[in-house]
Point group: D2
Chain length 393, copies 4
């Protein structure tokens, strides 16, 4: 057995979805290149790779339309596999996008029967998730959007989505489940435009909920990156608000279809900054929830390639964490980013507003020319980040 420091272990809290390593490689232009896998085998293989848990949509485990008996048999087998291989299910979610009935949306569809069916399906899926031990329940509204916006008032769509989340919060509370919701945004695909396009929009929406304390976000690297937004800034806003309930790690190029690439395989600097933030290596409060990889292997891979892919996600995360620790321990870095203070101004900025303190603040002389001319050494800082990242410091 190796002492490789980037070998994943259960303590790393790494999770994968059944749909990720189980992805058969179908895409819009071509057929599957790999066989569909048995969920119990996925549990075993993930465990062997060093993962801690496995997540799922209802339909990843229970085929749509299964009888209660079939469902119970599958669940029993799956729980046994979890036990056998020491794996947990920290998160579950509902597939509200594959079935054609959701072609106009699920919680936001124009037809009340569709909205009712989406609630039915979600309540049933929540029961499944809870039975498997999930403590986080994710909502990704892949069909909650439009191709032609004239089809519905987008304000009404917000109200419908709010109704659904409020309703399901009440359901969870009524049942006494120990479960929090995490909302996952995506700007587009499969729909032309999806409502509540980013983590920022989701955080705003959450603030309007009846039970907002139960609801946080599940930012995904690929989803924020598609729109060219900074994943780090999105995660930071969620963390600062106490709302980072879950996270989806993967890789993505800006302005592309949803690639869901191996974590760290694109935009390595952003991946480094994200891991640095999650791990708190700069002295900030770390994230301690599951580290979920919502990614899948290239279509060129066979089964062995899938597990190469899974190991790669975890290895790169650990390597980035190691590099982030090195970066934040680098004395030249610490010197550049040392906190700036001002004995006269800090108390004025620190105190609550008062007419008197505002007058004092306005009276403070500021030598703007000197400040404007001072170099901030950010090129050197960024170069130190690159050299640390590349293992050259």
């Amino acid at each position: 057995m190796s002492h490789d420091p980037i070998q994943p272990t259960r303590d790393d809290r790494f999770t994968f979805g059944l749909w990720t390593v189980g992805n058969p490689g179908r895409d819009p232009f071509g057929a599957a290149t790999r066989a569909v896998q048995d969920p119990c085998r996925i549990v075993q293989k993930l465990s062997e790779c060093g993962a801690w848990g496995v997540n799922l949509h209802d339909e990843d485990l229970i085929p749509f339309g299964s009888s209660a008996a079939k469902r119970d048999g599958i669940v029993a087998d799956f729980k046994k596999a979890l036990d056998d291989h020491g794996m947990v299910v920290p998160m579950a979610t509902t597939n509200l996008f594959s079935q054609p009935i959701f072609k106009d949306g699920a919680f936001t569809a124009n037809d009340p029967k569709v909205r009712a069916f989406a609630l039915q399906k979600t309540m049933t899926a929540i029961e499944l998730g809870v039975e498997l031990g999930a403590s986080t329940y994710v909502f990704w509204g892949g069909r909650e959007g439009t191709e032609t916006d004239a089809c519905r008032d987008p304000q009404e769509a917000t109200r419908r989505f709010r109704h659904a989340i409020d309703y399901l919060c009440e359901f969870v509370k009524d049942r006494g489940y120990d479960l929090r919701f995490a909302l996952e945004a995506k700007p587009n695909e499969p729909r032309g435009d999806i409502y509540l396009a980013t983590t920022g929009h989701m955080l705003a929406f959450i603030a309007t909920l009846k039970n907002e304390e139960m609801v946080g976000v599940n930012p995904e690297v690929a989803h924020e990156s598609m729109a060219g937004l900074s994943m780090t800034h999105n995660v930071a806003q969620a963390m600062e608000a106490g709302k980072l309930f879950h996270i989806d790690l993967n890789g993505q190029r800006i302005g592309r279809y949803d690639q869901d690439l191996r974590f760290g395989s694109e935009d390595l600097k952003q991946a480094f900054l994200l891991v640095r933030l999650l791990e708190g290596t700069a002295g900030t409060t770390p994230y301690t929830g599951p580290l979920h990889f919502d990614a899948h292997a290239y279509r060129t891979e066979d089964d062995a390639g899938v597990w190469d892919f899974a190991r790669g996600c975890m290895r790169t995360y650990k390597l980035l964490a190691e590099r982030a620790r090195g970066f934040d321990a680098d004395s030249e870095v610490r010197d550049i980013i040392a906190a700036m203070t001002d004995a006269a101004i800090d108390p004025l900025l620190g105190a609550p507003y008062s007419a008197a303190s505002a007058e004092a603040l306005r009276a403070m002389p500021i030598d703007i020319d000197t400040i404007a001319k001072r170099g901030l050494r950010y090129e050197r800082l960024d170069q130190l980040m690159i050299e640390n990242l590349m293992g050259a410091r």
Copy 2:
């Protein structure tokens, strides 16, 4: 005088910034192509074009570093021009981006002296705005971001920005000003990544403020469109939350530098959908605030071209409004988007959650195959939109 129905009038509430029609055509690769204009002449020309108001940054009117006497003289002349030409100043804002002292940010800069200076400058600029009659005060944090994210904890940036807005709310309340704040998001440029990248992020941030009722948003077409997001969805989320305090209209292609093109000159369908929402032609509550054009003329234009540009913004808005009214009066459109109802389900969806109603809802039979197969006629709907937009219905 013409009876042209798309001729702008004061009743249309159209406004322009001094910096928009006054833009001399400088860009990162070339010098100005037009002379700098006198603010009083801008007021006169805008009035002649049919605009209702003019907006400004402090430095658009008062050169940075002006003496109090010079400032007062400029203000007196400007107020006279407003009176002479029947124009108002509905909105004012602070330039916190041009001066080199803001190169690391203004309210989020690492140096407390810069943060103090940004507060000083803003309090002074608020006084100017109030003196000119402004009832909305906009914050656009063009420098509140980074090129290299290692330079500061992005959570701390949020806290610094919150401090500034909370502080300035208190200042306004303390002074008894009748003034609301409108926060304007932009994903990038001039900085590599700007904090609070979209209207969604701003709405989420506002929910964390001490005086959140005083603070709304100022979405800008170009800013949401740069990231490929739907301006209409962003505005709708703001309207639904009662937070659309102001709006910046212009044109922009996705994934480009900030173009600030003539309103309606890009993505005509999105412009149509936006005007339809603002005007409420589909029966929703209209927006009744100022319609501000934050755009500027091509660099190829001389003075006459600038006023062609200004007239074009307003004419296209009115033409789109007319087309939107036609679309929503079209019986084929009304038929396609007529509200769907279900006598059994609607009461269950309309009532508050209870264990009993949830059980009733779960017991409702839904004929998913029939619903899935039903065509929704959205291609026809979108084609009707195009044909209405093109004046062919």
Copy 3:
């Protein structure tokens, strides 16, 4: 029968692919929402809608792996349908992307067996196309790219692709077929990056072929637009080089997955400019080849919606052509874009280079300040385009 001037007729040379109106609405996140259609019915329905022709991939008509007898039966039925409904097959192409064997590419794959199979399949498909009367053969290399560029030397990929096209040109010449090739570029999807990403790259590649006179391009709106490039500029470069052999019309937002929306449903101004160029309404040489719609109906549509979609593509094209004619007949437009001449300079710019003429040119005085200050009236020009487009002139 209506006299609607935008009603499509056979003379308009409109074509659709079997795969377009036959698209069942499957996407990466959901199952098909419409039944697979019989090709003969598609021929009938397209004819009823006013189309002139139908195009196809080999596998659109002949299921992969069909016996010769089955193939011949299908072809006979299809030809009868074409005859019955007065339809032609102007273009055919090979599906080199759906089968898993192409997961690493077809003509550029690393395995020589895959490259050989791609040639086999294409020769057979060319025979099919010729049998159906096609005079244009399209190559879209959807799998000719990479997710990880380390897998092959991209220069070698170019050489492999060139070998295939050179080889197939010889095959066509050897057979005496009256067939030209049209290469279709796409920057990404289904692969992470596709070689020869744009029409420009294809034109450059064609210039290196042995039989370059046989080979032109097939630009597609969606493909150039994904990368934010101007479709009009790409088509113009191809037309100026005599290389516009075919065209794929549809709609697409920048920076998205391949949407293949109804023609004209996105970026109406670019669609207008494209139709204006193709129709030559500004006095340039028109394009006279097939006008092919490579688009498909929203997933929300049933069969009736598919034909609404098809009619919409054609109606919008005709409406844009009408608007373009109006624009170019508008005297104010003609005045702004009238050719500029200079009696002294034009002869120097028109003559071939000589040392003497170069000296004469360098000696010409140019009044740069006056020229720099002159306004070009492009804002007015663009506004006239918008008002014409919207039917308001």
Copy 4:
């Protein structure tokens, strides 16, 4: 003196433009943050940093409108500085974008006087470049585009641009200069759309020139990346065609304004792949021309930061070259990408086309199922690339 293996030396052929390290930090939203630098000091500082050469636009050295005497004095001083510091000028170019006269384009402008002036200016600037020893002359047509495409026929724009390049080739030949042209593409900015948007479009255009052997390309990382295209693919196509005459190295995020960031500071994997291709570490023919950094320091930097930036560009290039050599020496990598051969097929693919060989090729049995199922180990390959890049192998 350090033995740091990534310390730049003259042998590395690194060059910078006067306009890069001399950039004063002005942007569209703010004033300069650094003083304008004397060109002779730039030469000295670059030499101290380990650069080999310096490149320039005419106006970087000679202010627009200078007298002949002033020009000669500046040139004499500059040549002395080059000699004193052992620096060369491998490349020169014309500024055809800053002066307002070029607001409608230079070689493609509608006014023949502007086109004549652009030729005048370029001939003079070529003389300057030759006098300073340049062997490559770059053309970047920043103003050769449009905001509103109705202003000119884009085919005519191509013809005008061709006339200019053909004319200037003749000028160079007539003078007997040892000078090649390198055309640099950019998709947009400062214009809304620029003609000949990518390196591919330029290569296609070059194939239509009278003296095409004199003309190659100058691809720029930022320009291809803005449109989300693969810089590596663009450079490979140019290298395969023998047309990579020069290269512009920098950093850029997709879908942004032109950032011109420090080389390697964005998209480290693409930077790695590019350096690997340029250095030929995988066994391909290396590029041996100048390695030019067309980048500038963040606006936050003072003079010291500018030289940190310059050193960073070069250090990262050398570090990437070292990592690329390690990657290509890695036996696991070599195993995955080893050339695939087939004794039966290779001769058929290697021979020229004949009817007989085509029949033989078509008769070859291909076991498509076996090939389709085989995993290609590309996830492992990509992971090896990441781990090599991060210095962890």
